[in-house]
């Protein structure tokens, strides 16, 4: 993974000093709330329902075991002993004290971490495929490009006060695990027939209040122009994006208003004027960064691996876990493993300090001391020897990290919701927990098969409900919490990206497990043997699902 040099260390240290002084001036009354707000936001600090919330950047989701131990230490020392892994590969602390935030940032800097631009109307943390560098379907490893973009976006002077937040995602694999069609900019790394690396540039996707699938504005951008082209997009957006209405301020609204062709024309014109600049990435810089992402020192291992094959045959529980939580690797004898943070009864994505410290130890012993955060809010060990999988499973199970539900209904993606977030209209975590409790039969879960269930507590869609095969959105109606349900969304992993369609009036919290059960029952009755839930919805449309959910007297809706 990328390691700081003296320049990187200096920049982050100076940020800590700057924010320490800003916090001092705020507490001394020299800065008003309005003046301090964007300064704290650009350091990931929100003022929330109970206390400030601090969002720590995990650049493109990659962590070392040392960093995870530090996150555990911060959770114990400055918070209430846990943290929440978010859908954008970041970590959130829900209970820090404002006065201690500069100290937390100083602790983070010790392990080459920060909270820079994790909120505010600026370029946010760059995200990518959580299997980058190990996925068998990878065409181009996006990690070095993600780090180059991280450095470029950090304190970019021209784009610190954009109309709205700005999210960039990178993908270099055939499956799009980074949801690049649902970001302000999506960069898909591809190769031309001659093997040259380029970028398919997608703009204007997003969720939130106005969900839109992004548009390709350039099919092949030579990689060395990544920064100049992204800068051209941002300049057009910074100058012309709407600032009169925060609900219409994202780049997707500008793209829609101008039309994709006109928007692309303006970007190309801006780029023509700036493309020959010192910001073109030299091969030497790419090589310097890429040298931090060389393959781990794998040992040669022959397939099949006898110990692994025997364990699969001996233990049904183990083989079920392997089926769901173990993923293919490009090297023989290795696999990637998802450690689930989706145990029933625990808020999705929450991890205690003990669990973090334990996962750090697992990473050291089983995966070269490195791990990933997935945007499904789980932790991933990317480089595990297959012969170690059984031992790893036993250890993970003992710590509650081996729920075999990746891709299944109970692997719910969920925002912190009304329990913690001051933006939320409704609670989301109790809904997730009630659904997980209803579907507690593992055999049945596996029979239902692959399905994404996403819950957001408000229109900001942090739970990505628009791309859930089943999406749940918390809404406020006359002060009461209701839940709107959509079906048919997909982030584009194994099929085309699509947005979910709302099935009808909203439901009360208590009815949500019934509603989900009726949707699942409908699917089970109507599916063909090969169909996943999303396939059945696409083949038949929403009508049979709606009919089942809205008939019967017991469900009240608003």
């Amino acid at each position: 993974m990328y390691r700081y040099d003296s320049y990187d260390r200096q920049i982050v240290a100076e940020r800590v000093a700057q924010f320490r002084d800003q916090t001092r001036r705020y507490l001394a009354g020299e800065l008003t709330d309005d003046e301090f707000r964007p300064l704290r936001l650009q350091n990931g600090l929100y003022v929330q329902r109970h206390a400030p919330m601090l969002r720590v950047a995990i650049p493109y989701g990659i962590l070392s075991s040392t960093q995870l131990r530090k996150l555990a230490h911060i959770a114990r020392t400055y918070d209430r002993g846990y943290g929440h892994f978010s859908t954008r590969q970041n970590l959130q602390y829900n209970w820090p004290k404002l006065e201690t935030v500069p100290d937390i940032l100083a602790e983070l800097a010790e392990v080459e971490m920060h909270a820079i631009q994790t909120s505010g109307n600026c370029v946010r943390n760059i995200t990518t495929d959580h299997f980058a560098g190990v996925a068998p379907d990878e065409v181009v490893d996006p990690r070095a490009f993600a780090e180059i973009l991280r450095q470029w976006s950090t304190f970019h002077p021209e784009f610190a006060y954009l109309p709205r937040k700005f999210k960039i995602a990178l993908n270099g694999a055939r499956s799009d695990r980074a949801a690049t069609f649902f970001h302000d900019i999506g960069l898909n790394f591809v190769k031309d027939p001659g093997g040259a690396v380029g970028i398919r540039v997608i703009v204007g996707g997003g969720m939130g209040r106005t969900p839109i699938v992004g548009h390709v504005i350039r099919e092949f951008l030579p990689w060395e122009h990544m920064l100049t082209y992204v800068e051209a997009i941002l300049r057009v957006y910074n100058r012309h994006g709407r600032r009169d209405n925060i609900y219409k301020a994202r780049i997707k609204i500008l793209v829609k208003a101008l039309g994709v062709e006109e928007f692309a024309r303006q970007v190309e014109a801006e780029w023509e004027a700036t493309r020959e600049s010192p910001s073109v990435i030299p091969q030497e810089e790419y090589d310097r960064i890429a040298a931090h992402f060389t393959p781990a020192p794998y040992e040669p291992i022959e397939e099949p691996v006898p110990a692994f094959v025997h364990a699969l045959a001996d233990s049904r529980a183990f083989s079920r876990w392997v089926q769901r939580n173990v993923h293919p690797h490009r090297r023989d004898g290795y696999a990637a493993v998802t450690l689930s943070l989706k145990t029933t009864g625990v808020a999705p994505g929450d991890a205690t300090a003990q669990q973090m410290a334990f996962v750090a130890e697992l990473a050291d012993r089983y995966s070269f001391g490195e791990l990933r955060v997935s945007h499904e809010q789980n932790l991933i060990l990317a480089d595990v020897r297959k012969r170690d999988l059984f031992a790893l499973w036993l250890e993970a199970k003992s710590a509650g990290l081996a729920t075999p539900n990746v891709g299944l209904l109970t692997n719910i993606v969920c925002c912190p919701g009304g329990d913690f977030c001051s933006l939320a209209n409704a609670k989301s975590i109790p809904i997730a927990e009630a659904i997980q409790a209803r579907f507690d039969d593992l055999d049945y879960l596996h029979d239902i098969g692959e399905i994404d269930l996403n819950i957001s507590g408000c229109m900001n869609s942090c739970g990505h409900h628009h791309v859930g095969h089943i999406g749940v959105l918390g809404v406020d109606k006359n002060g009461a919490e209701w839940y709107q349900v959509s079906i048919g969304g997909a982030q584009g992993l194994e099929s085309d990206p699509s947005l979910g369609q709302v099935i009808g009036p909203s439901f009360a919290a208590a009815d949500m497990p019934d509603v989900v059960e009726k949707l699942i029952d409908t699917y089970i009755e109507l599916r063909t043997p090969e169909e996943r839930f999303i396939d059945t919805v696409r083949r038949l449309g929403a009508a049979p699902f709606k009919e089942r959910v809205y008939t019967g007297p017991e469900v009240a809706h608003a």
Partner: protein, 157 residues
């Protein structure tokens, strides 16, 4: 007399507000202003700096107004004036400008700053140097850090 930060120092302002024309006023009067006369224009966030491109060598001062500091359009206006249009005169940030914006403003090509009246320009000077190094190129230094890293490695052999 009001003070401004100019070229890294606090100075008395050499301009009176009434001397600084809006873009519309400038377009209306430019024909009647003698070439070589002292002239200044203030751009609003939505004004296109390209409209001044042909006149920049007649202007001693271009001010860019920030009605709200969170409206960042003026940063791009400054970059375009300094790079695309080659403006070399004084470029001033006016309006809701505070010390915590100075570092970014300076990087985008501003060399003078009229802080909001309740803010102390002397205390603000320190923030011009909040960061000693930076990753990306901009007006103040078009070379991204990676170009300097490469040059540093070459120098070390």
């Amino acid at each position: 007399m009001p003070e401004v930060i100019r070229n890294g120092r606090v100075e008395a302002d050499a301009w009176h507000e009434a001397q600084i024309l809006t873009l519309a006023q400038w377009k209306e009067r430019r024909g009647s202003i003698a070439p070589g006369a002292r002239a200044a224009v203030r751009l609003e966030p939505a004004d296109d700096p390209a409209e001044l491109a042909a006149d920049l060598d007649r202007l001693q001062l271009v001010a860019i107004n920030f009605p709200k500091f969170a409206d960042g359009r003026g940063y791009s206006s400054a970059v375009l004036l300094r790079t695309r249009h080659g403006y070399r005169g004084e470029l001033r940030a006016v309006g809701d400008v505070g010390r915590d914006q100075l570092f970014y403003l300076k990087r985008c090509g501003f060399d003078s700053f009229a802080l909001a009246p309740h803010r102390d320009p002397h205390a603000a000077l320190a923030s011009l140097g909040d960061f000693g190094t930076r990753y990306q190129g901009s007006v103040d230094d078009p070379l991204p850090l990676f170009r300097r890293r490469i040059a540093g490695r070459a120098a070390r052999g």
